[in-house]
Amino acid sequence: MTAPTVAGGSDVGADPSTPRPARGRDPDERRARASQSFWTVVVAVPAIFSVLRLGVEAGGELQTTLLLVANVGPVNLLAGFLTTAARLLSTGLVAVFALGAVLGVSVDRLPGYRRPLFARWADITPAWFVLASFLIALVTWPLLYLPLLLPALAAAFQLRPDRLHDVAAARVLIVAALFGGYLFFLAPTLLDAWQQRELLVLALFVVPPVLALTIAGPLPGAVIRPLASVTEAAVLAMLVWASLPVISTPVLPLTVTTVEATPGTTEDVRGHVVVVDDVNMVLLQERGGVRYVPIDQVKAQVLCPSEEELPRHRLRVHDFHVEDSLLEGLGRRVRPANRIDAACRSTG
């Protein structure tokens, strides 16, 4: 995505005749530096997050952290991070690109106005990357929040209803038909939501498509600066707030291992398997602490879900649960969920 004007970082509002760019840097150099910074962040953030996650997973114990570091491969760690953080990352990117584009076009018509940070980021980001961010959001966001992608997409690519048809009446008809089809598709879910008095769900499904019709376009000059400041702070706060659960999401899968320490007496150990060798199975117990279980005492092991996976709503869109993403929903159809193993219940 490229903006019609060159990304400039200086505030030249005091003297519009001052040539941009300021501070003696040419646009290509700025673009290269920005791109370099961007990719540094893309690589460094997952790495830092992954290490933080290991520390949290180890319960803050240095020796346990070192045990995990020694046994969890960097590729597994990164893949685990991306699996749990793809939703957060795409949310951040979509927010930046959508707000950046709206702020960008708003500033374009005000010569000499300092370009907000998000607008500059949107300017230097290639269109394919923006599109890829939306695609990742499309497959990783819960269905309940997917309608929000419509106004975000319209904002990021400045899509207006004018593009649908030259004749206004035809445009109205096309929009009405599209919206009618959308409501018809969601009718059973909307009815359920109404019966369950899930007003936020109703709003999240119905309102965003309407907003998508008017979100493209410039903002009034008076709104740009406060909006830019508030949204920059808000997106940053949102990322920090949403990253806390990502840091505390376990790196290793949760299991219950049935151990027979003495003949006839079994014990269920709930925790994460760190490593298995010929002698021991090393378990990071959910209640804390590491346990080395001799391999011949392990009688059974089952994979258990964690309580964070429990749904909050009882609504579905054509049998897809509203809190599932498209990927999760499709996955459930490929491998329908088995019932919860009894061992997962008994040890709480």
């Binding site: 929040y145 904002a155 979100i215 909050r312 809190e323």
Partner: protein, 313 residues
Amino acid sequence: MKMFLTRSRVRSVATTVAVALTLTLAAAAGCDSRQESPLPSVNEKLRETHIYGQPTLKIGVSTTGPLMGELHGGTYTGFDVEIARYIAAQLGYEGDKRIEWVPVATEDRIPAIQGGAVDLVVSTFSMTDEREKLVSFAGPYLVTTQEAMVPTRLKDSIRTIEDLRDPRYKVCTSGGSTTEAELGKHQIRVFVVKEVGDCVDGILEGRYDAVSSDETILAGFLSKHPKDFTIIDMPFGTSEQIGVGVPISDPALRDLVAFFLDKSYQQGRKGLSSPWLTAYHQTLGPWLRAPKVQPPPLNVPKLVDFDDKAPRK
């Protein structure tokens, strides 16, 4: 020009409103995603029960009721036993190693729950108002009617309730059962013994002439002696709801048992195989004259569980 400016201003205002509303909705969605479910989860309920953390689950069952609850060579079998196994597995006690079967006679079911000898009773336990003052019930998982079973030699002599009132016939039933009270209402003189099996033995030995009990219990004994007995269809009136008895002090356990019975019921409603149907076909099904379906359990709580997101179709 003026019109263009006005349109431009309207568009700016519309964009501002759209951006503000989108941000508001996004913030609301963010808050929503971090909220806990308004409904309790199965695991939360489980933590509230008195069985949480117990290594085994003590279940009171009958050992003398053919097809319902019977002990054969150290193995418990029957419809009640299969239902008990299903509930135990759902509560986290899968396999007979995790279940402590406690034999309970009909009259001992309530004291066994009250005294803590068992965690729950699955033993053709009729849900009545009187009993609900002493124990809690989850269910029903079966609805039965009262019937009478007579030896084949008397099948033409005893056909109505009036015939049972005839002092020539000695009618037997188990003590503490709802049948005892029902027979009393019909002014039928009744011989009360400990178990229905004692009545059946008594008839075979010539001491009694008829036995009255739930049709499922009688069907069990009929399966043992198909040539010796006949079940007489008698309109005693009320049908009986069979439920799982749990301590009155443990509403969380009652809720969980009701939730799991309902889970099986919902599976059966969709035409899928359910634990109830499997238990029924393995035990009672072939011996009942009229086929039964699982009744909807009463007072089922709304709980969330890990498989709630699974496809329903």
